[in-house]
Amino acid sequence: MGNIDLTTLNQPVNQKKLSLICFSGDFDKLVATFTLATGAAAVGYEVNIFFTFWGLDAIKTKQGRSFVGKGFLGKLFGFFMGGLKSAPVSRLNFLGLSPKIFRYLMRSKNVATLEELVEAAKALEVNMYACEMAMHILGLEKSDFIHEVKGVLGVTTFLELSEGGRTLFICSNCQSDFSTG
């Protein structure tokens, strides 16, 4: 049999694990991401979220519009991309009015708001990671993100983390949208 690592063999084969690749910074898709993440974490899943490109907006320390990033273009993109509180909805954004309406509707109907879901994800110790490559393009550093972000990863490390579980890709709209409000 050779050198078989018994500690690896004794690990549960069907350990429940959900890994989400959050490519979107849209309000509705972030709600979906954090709903899945918190629901899965609550019932015992190990949950990893890998934030990349627009998804990085969700984990910035500065949640509104801010010139976060290095260099002129980085700062400009940082401003227009914004953060959690300035996330647009993916359809019918109406210059940023729709997210405010959604937040009102969610509060009035006792549905967890995006901010509450993020706080729950932190409390449930969901593992949050930032994409090294996207950070490099946008001139972002780990210090620009909330401290719950466990690390900065590349794709190979993410693949290792997600090995043996389910992986979902939460994508962004492929539209030219300057109406982020």
Binding site: T35, T38, A41, A42
Partner: protein, 74 residues
């Protein structure tokens, strides 16, 4: 051993069990948690998920209308 209460009658997915799980995680072993919830998904899900997570579901009882109480021991 202490008894705590949690009202999730106004909560919706996923916060029904999320709030239950967060509250349970704060308790000491042996503590009791009375969870007030409504019929449907919360009543189906909270006792089942609590058992799956290794907690003892001691009692599920009807309170009034569509509200039920689930007694969970950590």
């Amino acid at each position: 051993m202490s008894t705590y209460q949690l009202d999730i009658t106004k909560e919706h997915c996923p916060m029904t069990f999320v709030k239950t799980k967060i509250q349970l995680s704060k308790l000491q072993p042996g503590d009791l948690l009375e969870v007030f919830l409504t019929e449907g998904e919360p009543l189906n899900n909270v006792p089942r998920s609590s058992k799956e997570q290794g907690y003892n579901v001691l009692e599920v009882s009807h309170v009034e209308g569509n509200i039920h109480k689930v007694l969970i021991q950590k």
